[in-house]
């Protein structure tokens, strides 16, 4: 029963249930295909979700709404510089990460120097990033270099390469949160910023690194997604705004901060893909699908949060 007390178990249970229900429709056929697709597409949601989780852990009011624009900008610039030339994949990666890093610094500068609430600061910044993306390439879709596209859509030991990237990041984030001083500082800041500051935690430094990390993750996700889907598009990040927040909440992290949950993010990322697939497979229309998705998400969040009340 100790497993049931883990807030992350609910997202995994929901993912498993939706998977089973989808497969039941075809009496078992296509199971591995579906799992493979869920891991591929779940990886992008998981990467941005991990970043968003770190920010939300910082405490009430902390959220990064510039994730979609950062993804679009870094992917657009990276693919433009690579110009489909083979051998430029690494250069593109560096550019995508650097753009993400820069966006994170800019976000934090707005929050720290101008004392803007993070919601306003990141939303305003995202308009600038999106405009830069439009201005830099006017929405033209440039193909990724062939070897990079092959990597992004390829597999290793039966799992999609992008899922390996997402899993590696998840393990790294988990280790940092659980085993490093910085991770403890982050949790302490999220639980009570004032107490953390008085206890000697360099609160602003923790916040700065967190905002830079989430933006860098967004840059990486944008780079991978553009390589995976054959080019950067101006609206490519759009669905990852709510997605990044949803996977954090469904994954059992506390929306009030100070309590994060790495395995839950992956479970929720898989679930968010599987639930849409399931409802599509059962032929639910767009309206029904949105209502059911909303209802299921609320149910999971309630289940995960009531468990947390009695630790």
């Amino acid at each position: 029963m100790i497993l049931l007390r883990k807030p992350w178990i609910w997202s995994w249970a929901a993912a498993a249930l939706t998977f089973a229900l989808t497969i039941a429709l075809t009496s078992g056929r296509g199971g591995s295909e579906l799992a493979y697709a869920a891991l591929s597409f779940g990886a992008f949601a998981a990467i941005v979700g991990l970043g968003q989780m770190l920010v939300i852990t910082l405490g009430p009011g902390n959220v990064d709404l510039s994730i979609p624009a950062t993804m679009t900008l870094s992917a657009t610039l990276a693919l433009k510089v690579m110009a489909s030339e083979p051998g430029t994949a690494f250069l593109g990666l560096v550019i995508a990460l650097a753009v993400g890093f820069g966006a994170g610094l800019a976000n934090f500068a707005l929050i720290f120097l101008l004392r803007l609430p993070p919601i306003i600061a990141t939303l305003a910044a995202s308009l600038i990033y999106q405009s830069l993306a439009i201005w830099s390439n006017r929405g033209l879709r440039i193909k990724p270099p062939e070897p990079l596209a092959d990597f992004a859509t390829g597999r290793f030991l039966g799992l999609p390469n992008v899922a390996w990237v997402g899993l590696t990041l998840a393990v790294a984030v988990w280790i940092i949160l659980e085993r490093s001083v910085w991770g403890r500082w982050l949790l302490a800041t999220g639980q009570n910023m004032r107490a953390a500051r008085l206890a000697g935690v360099p609160v602003e430094r923790v916040r700065a690194t967190t905002y830079v990390t989430v933006a860098t993750f967004a840059g990486l996700a944008g780079y991978l997604l553009a390589s995976f889907s054959g080019g950067a598009a101006l609206n490519m990040g759009a669905e990852y705004l709510l997605m990044s927040i949803a996977v954090v909440v469904i994954g059992g992290s506390s929306i009030a901060g100070g309590d994060s949950n790495v395995p839950g993010v992956w479970g929720a990322a898989l679930f968010m893909f599987l639930v849409v697939s399931m409802l599509n497979s059962y032929g639910a229309g767009a309206g029904v699908r949105n209502v059911l998705t909303g209802t299921i998400v609320i149910a999971i969040v309630i289940a995960a949060s009531t468990r947390r009340l009695r630790p």
Binding site: T22, G139, S229, G231, A233
Partner: protein, 341 residues
Amino acid sequence: MKISKLLLGAAGLALVAGLAQAGSHLQDTSGKRIALSNNYAGNSWRQAMLQSWEEAAGAAVADGVVAAADAFTTSENQATEQAAQIQNMILQGYDAIVINAASPTALNGAVKEACDAGVTVVSFDGIVSEPCAWRIAVDFAAMGKEEVDYLATRLPDGGNLLEIRGLAGVFVDDEISAGIHAGVAEHDQFKIVGSVHGDWAQDVAQKAVAGILPSLPDVVGVVTQGGDGYGAAQAFKAAGRPTPLIVLGNRQDEMQWWADQRDANGYETLSLSIAPGVSTLAFWVAQQVLAGEEVPKDLTVPFLKITQDTLDEKLAGTPVGSVANVMYALEDAQAVIAGAK
């Protein structure tokens, strides 16, 4: 000396204006100012649409046909925001406002205000239902039906179809989908076994198709709405399924993929969508209304169709990563107006 210069200038103006009028009953529009109110710029189609406007309207301003033709885009794709933008344009004294609307009904109040202030309002693509405005509409239902008609000629035995829809809740999506379903009702050898929303974006379509494919039987054809065909092809490839007949939507990456497939295995399909240059048609229609031409309130613009025969030519003329385009000139607008009378 001074007077002769003035006369010369006036003669020059009259000459330029005469070019634009192409008829004696029309008035000079060289002092008129036209604004474009656009609700969204976040995809390649809209970018191509804005660029077409810049080119055509910019040239018209340089030629002295109109005094100004400025384009404005709202940042958040909200009807309230666009309504405020239209009110600003009225205050700024534009003579005509060309609108690609966020909603067919929510802007009606602002549009009515503009009409009452004597401003000509021309809507296109995203049209408005307010009766005082002109509408340049695309017969989206016919576009959807044409896809199924084409499939019926290629696959007389019929089979299972996968439908990729656009953005849920947008009327264009409902229209195209209704046309597709009407086509399937007529050609009952086809059956739609799955329907997903691809949001007119390759990556979203790829994700949605990858999710539904495992539960689908064999699919012979994919009907789409544009901007989603390449993503669908990628999803079929990733699932290790044979590539079905995918109707495409004029995006350069789709046409490039089509040409590659054709060269490799003789793949044949059809591609159709609206040309983003429809904004230039709207510009000329607004100019004609300002010039005093009698223009019917409802105009229809044909969609741009690319076949096996015209693929190479269209592909060569489309910038990498963009959308196949048609620029409309004054004569085209006059032809469309004459056709609607």
